[in-house]
């Protein structure tokens, strides 16, 4: 990674929501950076804080009574400290966002063109007709056929893939430096997903913007991301280049994600290795390492000590928040990658088995 100043630098960001049941620690002290022209993939399950972290970048959690601490430096300016008005000048202009569900993010009563014109005129002092020309140009850029006609369609006249293209067009209206895409392809079919991912890659090449893509799909990450951050229960547990996340992952949660989904070449007779249990409550997150109750490799003191994101030995751009020694982690992964079970890997490395999860269903009740 280059030594130049990153475009976006998030430092020890915490976001908490007070609720009737207690304080939800949605984002629990995360630090990451996004470099110009590169793509950061944030992977995590629902409730891992990946969406809240990105929405906070745009100030979209402000109206919800969230307590935000830490710094979000965008080109050197701290977005957390900006006033609503200053932030509005950046949002949709320098930083734009694409949401998961394109149908509910477009207003059903207004023509697609009118919504694009609004996005352009919110930040540019241009005439309506010029903004409309820009809208047609944008629809063409994202690959909508016959854009000068389709600009007057309503969102319901677009298919799912076209709506997502329209959303991307809207995000690109002011040539943002940073595009945040939150599960941009989750609602789409595979063939359309492939089109949208290819479109995002092409636009990044042409416009040179940085992208943060949030997804739960490791396949999507492998396709588009340069760097990856894995989130679990409000914390980043591992960051590395995309190659390294797949070839030499060091966090047990990352291993779990990689080993629990079948790929096109998983032998059918091999059992999948699910991650036991369920994601924890963010009101009372587990003590110590948040992952320890579900971790097959957890040792007794892992429920007491908080792990920090630390560089992996010999890999300066690879950071892991795990209390196991790096050498142990690498020996474990060497066993897992050839298809051994966690128990077999532990025996090989000579570590005791973690105590089984207390709930006999192996799933943990939803009791908070």
């Amino acid at each position: 990674m280059s030594a130049e100043e990153p475009l976006l630098r998030v430092e020890d960001l915490r976001v908490e929501f007070p609720t009737e049941d207690g304080i939800v620690h949605a984002v629990d002290g995360i630090t990451y950076q996004v470099h110009r022209g590169r793509t950061l993939g944030i992977v995590g399950e629902s409730g891992s804080g990946k969406t809240v972290a990105s929405m906070t970048t745009l100030g979209l959690t402000r109206g919800q009574g969230a307590h935000v601490s830490g710094r979000i430096l965008f080109e050197g300016r701290d977005l957390v400290a900006l006033s609503d008005r200053e932030l509005r000048a950046i949002r949709g202009n320098d930083i734009a966002m694409v949401f998961q569900d394109p149908l509910s993010s477009l207003h059903p009563f207004y023509r697609v063109g009118a919504q694009l014109v609004e996005a352009v005129r919110a930040h540019r002092d241009v005439s309506r007709s010029m903004a409309r020309e820009r809208a047609v140009e944008l629809l063409g850029l994202v690959g909508i056929p016959d854009p000068s006609r389709r600009v007057d369609d309503y969102p319901h006249e677009f298919s799912g893939g076209m709506r997502q293209r329209a959303m991307i067009a809207m995000a690109l209206a002011n040539e943002p430096k940073l595009l945040i895409a939150d599960e941009p392809t989750t609602a789409l079919d595979v063939t359309v997903q492939a089109q949208i991912l290819a479109l995002m890659e092409r636009l990044q090449r042409e416009l040179g913007m940085a992208i943060v893509i949030i997804t739960h799909d490791l396949g999507v990450i492998a396709e588009v991301a340069d760097d990856v951050a894995v989130m679990y229960a409000g914390r980043i547990v591992e960051t590395a280049s995309a190659e390294l996340i797949f070839s030499g992952p060091e966090h047990p949660y990352t291993w779990g994600l990689l080993k629990s989904i079948p790929t096109l070449d998983t032998p059918r007779e091999r059992e999948l290795v699910p991650i036991p249990g369920t994601p924890p409550s963010l009101i009372n997150p587990p003590s110590g390492c948040h992952f320890h109750p579900r971790c097959p490799y957890a040792q007794p003191d892992h429920s007491i000590i908080d792990p920090f994101l630390e560089p992996a030995p010999g890999e300066p751009d690879h950071h892991v928040a795990c209390l196991l020694a790096a050498e142990v982690r690498r020996r474990l992964w060497a066993q897992l990658r050839v298809g051994r079970t966690p128990a077999a890997a532990l025996a090989e490395v000579g570590l005791p088995l973690a105590p089984p999860i207390s709930d006999p269903s192996g799933l943990g009740g939803a009791r908070a």
Binding site: E45, D189, A242, S247, L258, I261, P262, S361, G364, G365
Partner: protein
Amino acid sequence: MSASPAADPGSAFGEEREHGSTAPSTGAVPGEPLVQVRDLVKHFPITQGIVFQRKIGAVQAVDGVSFEVKRGETLGIVGETGCGKSTTARLIMRLLEATSGEVRFDGQDITHLKGSRLKAVRREMQMIFQDPYSSLNPRKTVGSIIAEPFVVHGLERGKDQRKGAVQALMETVGLNPEHYNRYPHEFSGGQRQRIGVARALALKPKLLIADEPVSALDVSIQAQVLNLLRDMQRQFGLTLIFIAHDLSVMRYMCDRVAVMYLGKIVEIGAGDPLYAFPRHPYTGALLSAVPVADPSASPSERRLLSGDVPSPASPPSACRFHTRCPKAKERCSIDEPLLEDKGTGTQAACHYPLTREELVAMGVRFPAMNAPPADG
């Protein structure tokens, strides 16, 4: 249209399949398929007017589908939104009335069964739904949800007996039997899907249809449910129809796979040859579009399908894929291709099937080619 699996090409690949072979199903005729679907058609009318509704068209959700499901096997149906895969499942379950065609279950034509005879057949087939949040009644306890099939069919009478049966089921699917009196909201998504599986297994069905059973679940939970379904299939000798849009999950779970596009099966065959050497350009496009969790293997020159799926209310003529097919020629819009054996282990409905060179150029990997041949 003959989709006879008699010449099941899967056997050539020597797949070992312990599960299913020991099916304890009652009165099973070995070798006879459990489900036979012939020329199944379902058109939903599009009407206009309020009082005098005139039919102005039809959504051709399923349009002439034929296949068989053998006892103990898992048939996957894969396709994009609106291709008719869920409608096909609902037609087999008799949750929808077919416009024409025939569904045979266990040798019996069930397409027009009514009343008590339909109820008797329904005992033998159960369904698991996609959304574990909306498919469980929030006002009922888990115990009464799982006991519902017993109530409907008047089985396991007596309070204690019913409770015992329900708790045994909960144990089987990996739920804590003590949670009998809890409500669905107290369970996580993965656990709820287990409740759905327990309910489906209550009547010891022969056929289980799972409609996107894991797509609403978190990644770390999906494997738990997939493993559970495989265990249950082995344990109870179930025949499974597995509907999904995820090709990786499909390959892992299914013995044979049917690919649907706009209400028709475009390719069907055993999993290994279908994934190793898909012949229909649509199957190839689907496979090439799957994101691979391996950055070094990402095909740089993948061939993307252009455009979207056309409306099933006015599907393209002849081969329905010809509007998006990179290989389409004039003949494809005039002369409808039929499902026929392409000599590589699958049946495809295509005049100009893919060649090996084209597949390599599309960046489709050949997982079965790398896998060690299974013996036995």
